[in-house]
Symmetry: C2
Subunit: 221 residues, 2 copies
């Protein structure tokens, strides 16, 4: 059985959990705190980053290699289309969320509201937070546009692009910062993703000391 | 023929140029300045980022999707091994350089020395620069260790991991900031990569107003 070393507020760890659940890979979880990693983490991954995937002594560190490995190894329920052009579009969107959304939204909102509080006992810097919330509007507009023009974020089928987008958004949504009412198409899309059985465990995550937003776990929000 | 929209100091663009050259893909280049992108770039890639790959009207934006696309489409000279476990190790190292090295070294050194100068006319912040140079030592130690224990960075064969590592390092090397003498194994490895025909064009790049370090283009440095 796979062991995933993870943390609930890491979008990268959420992504891998959803992928494994979609692909019916059995896995156990071990939690590590990103702002206070144990020395075990560094022994497994000299980069000192989560997630870490361990299967029968085989270790893979980092969401990108784990993600591609699972897609190569588990043929059931493919999460990438078969044509290279379509795969490129899905990967463009994965990178949109894992790099751009992370840098422009997550770093400004989640780092300020969660990491700073638990690692340093500090309140968020309101200027940085505002910046993150402004950037979020741009990203929601883009998700809204994609959802209006496509069945799923990356095309006609559910894919890794939906998983990456929803993994990132779900953490911002936990904090109650997503104004869904202004982005109807994005809301319909997210509700579709949220209803998948693979998302159920993610919605059960709680962050000690921070209650989830009112509609975080509601499928009809 | 492929057109790559690029900039010479972007490690991500260098990576794609080396890959195409290794795979004998014919391509032309169009330069865009990252700190002053034209509106054309945003029309092609709403993320406003380089590289952008255009082939007969088909556009792929971002180094990760372009890299995987080239590997899927061009079977000659594979740059990923065939076993999924080995591919995962190469991708772990790609991410090491594209994410960690970029964040800890490139952002502190190249952004300070080049971007800041040309976009704002400012001198580098010596504190940030020092931070980048300190981080570089840790990364060189790791490259040195990998080069001592493996034929190439990612294993027995030349791969995308070598390309990612060398693309990033080459820009720092242009600026004369790599103390090769203290990292003998890393030096031997880099000299091997630098000697490949695919690296030749990269070494011809010049940055207007900044001369390359003395040994930048020397294969025997």
């Amino acid at each position: 059985m796979v062991l995933l070393i993870h943390h609930p507020v890491s979008p990268y760890c959420r992504k891998i959990r959803i992928i494994m659940s979609e692909k019916k890979v059995l896995f156990g979880l071990k939690e590590e705190t990103p702002w206070n990693l144990s020395s075990d983490v560094y022994k497994l991954n000299p980069a000192g980053e989560l997630p870490i995937f361990i299967n029968d002594g085989h270790i893979i560190s980092g969401h990108y290699p784990i993600c591609e490995y699972l897609e190569e190894m588990v043929n059931d329920n493919p999460l990438l289309p078969s044509a290279p052009k379509d795969r490129a579009e899905i990967r463009r969107l994965i990178s949109w969320f894992d790099d751009k959304f992370y840098r422009e939204v997550y770093k400004n909102i989640v780092t300020e509201k969660i990491y700073k509080r638990f690692s340093q006992g500090l309140a968020p810097d309101s200027r940085i937070l505002k910046n993150g919330l402004n950037n979020l509007m741009f990203h929601l507009e883009y998700i809204d546009w994609l959802s209006e023009h496509r069945n799923y974020i990356g095309g006609t089928e559910f894919s890794l692009a939906d998983i990456a987008a929803a993994a990132h958004l779900s953490i911002i949504d936990y904090l109650g910062d997503v104004p869904w009412e202004s982005f109807k198409n994005a809301k319909i899309w997210y509700s579709k993703i949220k209803s998948r059985p693979s998302f159920k465990e993610i919605l059960k995550d709680t962050i000690k000391g921070i209650l989830p937003a009112k509609n975080y776990t509601n499928l009809d929000f």
